[in-house]
Amino acid sequence: MSLDDPKGGIALTLNGEAVILGADPAARLSEVLRERAGARDVKVGCNAGDCGACTVLLDGEAVCACITAAGQVEGRVVETQRGLLEGPEGQRLAAAFQRHQAAQCGICTPGMMVSAAALLRRGGALNEAAVADALGGVLCRCTGYRKIIDAVLDASRHKALVAEGDRAPVSEGGVGARVERLDGWPKVAGLERFGDDVAPADALSLRVIRSPFHRAGFTFGDLDAYRAAAGLELVLTAKDVPGENCFGVIPGFEDQPVFAEGETRFKGEAVAAVVGTPEALAALPDFPVTWEERPANLTPRGAAEAAQLHGTRADNVMCRGRVARGDAAGAMPGAAHVVSGDFSTGFIEHAYIEPEAAVARRVGDRIEVQCCTQAPYMNRDGLARILGLAPGDVRILPTATGGGFGSKLDLTAQPYVALAAWRLNRPVRIAYTRTESIASSTKRHPSEIRMEIGADAEGRLVAETFDGVFNTGAYASWGPTVANRVPIHASGPYLTPNYRADSAGVHTNTAPSGAFRGFGVPQSAVAQEQLFDMLAEKLGMDRLAFRKLNCLRNGDPTVTGQVFETGMGIEACFEALEPHWAWALAGAEQFNATHDTVKRGVGVAGGWYGCGNTSMSNPSTIRAGVTPAGEVVLHQGAMDIGQGSNTVITQIFAEALGVSVSQVALVGPDTDVTPDAGKTSASRQTFITGNAARLAGAALRAQILRLGNVGEGAEIGFEDGTIVLSEGGEKRRVELPQDEGYALEVTESYDPPTLPLDENGQGVPYAVFGTTAQMAELEVDLELGTVKLLRIVAAHDVGRAINPLLVEGQIEGGVAQGLGLALMEEFLPGRTENLHDYLIPTIGDVPPIESIIIESGDEHGPFGAKGLGEHCLIPTAPAVLNAIAHASGARIHHLPATPATVRAAILAQRENGTE
């Protein structure tokens, strides 16, 4: 057998059925199952055995289908998530995963459930360690794993674990209810369809040709001859872009070409694309391009002297940000105690388990793109500009999105397939390889921060200065947002009378830094919250008491001069930690009295985050209607990338309308039929789209009540095409108008009230801030530098928890990402473009997490709710680093705190101690 003439087929039993699949025997089993057998419940995340999303059972044992050669399964039994649902283990797991909300985005769920099924079949009582071992090869970036562990343990018992009391999930309920994810079932049943799951069978494939150098000039050979010789349909380069060869996300900062022209600015930048049948691409000869490697600059330090990346940005400074209040420089000398330090963090990769994927088709003179995304309308407008079309001639049909965390806001794969489909008038698909995804997608900005903080003799903050340089990479992306947002947040949620914070985003020859959960705030918190510990130590104060003393309270001005009269909940967050703090400190003291090599430490940190875009209009619009048949339809345009907006927005809408969630049918974010609910970013969906949904629900309710001429308190129901209104024990039926389309329809928008910032950053940047305080307990092995997390306690003021179950999911997932930032993650351009060199936390790395929900309400939030997504990871890293310092005496200034870094810090601290 060979690739040239695959003989016969590969016979196997797939989910109980005998099948013969025509395939190259050396093809990946994952690819054969997906493309030949239609088993799209087998997901592909890395194609290297690193992520486990493709896990199938082979003769009952969990293996990665991506590194199993198809020929090796001849005559064997293969089971996937879909097949397992026919059996008892799969059914119990599906029910438990849904009950525990163990699936967020759902891309890892097939791998998790298949691995767990093999474990359950072995029988016997399970414990957490056994689950962690069996699922250790499946990566999840959303959940923090804790709910997955709970679900598997639950499924291993024949009676449900969590069916007690008010913590039990429910399938009905309004605001405040632990409603099970409304879109959860497809995820646990193997039916969810992500970016690479929807292409038609006849779609052509596209591959992007990318720069192998950090900076290079390039010239193409004879592309026409190459295309013909390689049997390709199309070769695309910059000259094939009919509109502008440029995209971006911030007005005035659109600077990234679809295809580089003349010079590439980072390793992994696109210069061309080839389009053809999968067979033609599999046998693709070397692309005719000649590279001329040029000197590249990878860090801000050398940026001023390096070649200009963008003509108008002197010294390669993209932009700067500043907030100044009082007189920091003047007040600092008067402080009784002053601490200062330099801190740095590296590039962080989002590492969603679903790589970028899209399929495009031309429909007449319009283009339709199905893709995973966080921002359908922004993608639409960006594509229209590239294609030279009106925005209305571009339709974005989002698929399920297998994690985003900020990087799926920007255009990635969409322009390539759209350009190709437009030219060829045939559907064209692409799924990024993991290497391509990591090399070319945006990253969390590396930071270099110098900060100084002074306090008076009683421990009250006197002054802070902050100077942060952020490596924004080759293109702007969301860099301006980071530069603006950080100075506003670098004080943390503390009363800081004299403050000056400066930031700069600097271009280098690296992948663009963009949006990543927190937009620079997690980096500034690493500096500020560690310095707080150092300051408390100087003061001889308890570290939590020091923070509580300095908390912002209602009526206090923030560093931008904004005053919240209600809803500033940070003090309540710290208060909620107090009993845990005292207990943990006592435990650590006791442990350390009898242990010399391993020491226990406890750390705490606070955080805050303004919901929505900074001092900018960022409205959301919600459309809803009632069909002539009496079905309530909610056009829910807030992309649910796993965080739960499909459920939360529906709960808000249903509550405002006065119906149950099960009465609401959802129409998803399709730019042709669902209005713009803005981007899933900046923790804005619950707050902003939630408000639009509240307004839409209330408006629809008002219409219905008016139609029936009943009072405010009437109950709304629907029966056989009529509205049933109940009021004071009486029922009134109202016929629905039998119009085309909706019988009743509303469209409502909400835009948060903000005010511009002046030259000193004074103003009202956000209508709402959410706050949080987290505590970490851990052990440090002083001789090996290794760290083991024991427990996280996370208190979050969410204003009002629309759905506490989903709040916990956000907290646990954010904490896991914070642990990764603190302990193991760093993207090094060209060296960590896979998931065995770029490490994210596995199931064994995330300790028990206790979530404490504080509900201090909010003036603007829907039913008092604030956003939550970004807040969850902001205090985690500094809490962990403060705990490491507590355990070992060693202060970590440069992340991540790998065993080597921790050990070096311990040695340095000992050296300093003996001086």
């Binding site: 060979s2 599999a282 065993p899």
Partner: protein
């Protein structure tokens, strides 16, 4: 990916006959398939050996040796009762490696043949003498986790295997067969140091196939005091920053025989013979272990920005010896080979 032939022989003889220059054996596929897809390996012919009969057994021979077939999967080997009882640090090393999925696919023979995880070997655009003799070594410029011992200017890559570290400590023997017939290779001579020929990574001659692995009878004498320790960036599913397999034979409170091998420090699992000699006959004390570890790392020198690794490797060795001295736990800890997984519990041979 380059075109190649895929062959599935049904006997060892057929497999050997199918071999030709440029061919590669395919076992569990966890390493080879990945390297082929990224272009780091480009065989002309892939010979799937997973269906060869007679290579999947684990047996105790009449002289007390334990013989393990080349196709035994890592997951089966780790839970085999004989291995768990008599070769506990082999089981611990296996369970600390990769993930459940990979252990279900990976074979004994494949693990012995595992390629380095050096970024520059894996990146077809980078210069690598191991992949392309004479091309140079980009790792010299930037590597910070590379070899400390036995490296050359041509290559500073390390062997990533956990499994091979206790094998080196326990004098395993590898049975191979090839065009010139059958022969045995001692594990310490199986993996080659780079020298001037970094492209040659094992002692296998062209066309030779691993049939089995044999642990000599004396390997089981260390079962009461044998541990594998692995320092890594995350709790599981990560390659070692440094590791050590330490095994002691205890008589009347003294060490009568000792074995020590280090992982992730060289192109082969690094047997520390001088350290072993210092340990034999002495009382098990931390000061002694520290001296032994110093001896084990005496020749270590940084190959890049990795001087920190010398200290870590030394401390890993000390800790592994301390853990071995404390006795093998009755059950493999929940976190195999972790410094946090070994604090309490019954001893296997108390």
């Amino acid at each position: 990916m380059k075109r190649f032939e895929f062959i599935q022989p049904s006997s060892v003889e057929e497999a050997l006959a199918a071999w030709e220059p440029g061919a590669a054996w395919l076992g569990g596929g966890t390493n080879l398939l990945d390297l082929m897809k990224i272009g780091a390996m480009q065989p002309d012919r892939v010979i799937d050996i997973t269906r060869l009969p007679g290579l999947s057994g684990i047996e105790t021979l009449s002289d007390g040796s334990i013989r393990i077939g080349a196709l035994v999967r890592n997951s089966d080997l780790a839970v085999n009762a004989t291995v768990a009882r008599d070769l506990p640090m082999v089981a611990e090393a296996l369970l600390s490696g990769a993930s459940g999925q990979l252990r279900n696919a990976a074979t004994v023979g494949g693990n012995l043949m595992q390629h380095t995880r050096c970024n520059y070997f894996q990146d077809p655009h980078a210069a690598c003498n191991r992949r392309e003799p004479g091309a140079g070594c980009d790792a010299r410029e930037a590597g910070d986790r590379m070899a400390l011992l036995g490296w050359s200017d041509g290559c500073i890559a390390t062997n990533p295997s956990d499994f091979c570290v206790p094998l080196a400590a326990l004098d395993a023997v590898i049975e191979v067969r090839g065009p010139q017939g059958a022969r045995e290779i001692h594990v310490s001579e199986f993996h080659l140091l780079p020298g001037d020929n970094p492209q040659r990574v094992t002692a296998l001659e062209p066309g030779e196939l691993i049939l089995a692995l044999r642990l000599p009878p004396e390997a089981t004498a260390f079962a009461g005091h044998a541990r594998y320790l692995k320092v890594r960036d995350r709790t599981s599913f990560a390659f070692a920053m440094s590791s050590a397999a330490a095994a002691l034979k205890m008589e009347d409170g003294r060490i009568s025989d000792a074995r020590l091998a280090l992982g992730a420090v060289a192109a082969k699992p690094w047997r520390a013979a001088e350290a072993e000699a210092m340990l034999s006959g002495a009382a098990p004390e931390e000061a002694l272990f520290t001296r032994a570890a110093d001896a084990a790392l005496a020749e270590a020198k940084p190959s890049g920005d990795n001087a920190w690794k010398i200290d870590l490797a030394r401390r890993t060795a000390v800790r592994a010896l301390l853990m071995a001295a404390a006795g093998t736990p009755a059950r493999i800890p929940a976190l195999p080979a972790s410094p946090f997984g070994s604090k309490v519990g019954d001893l296997a041979h108390a």
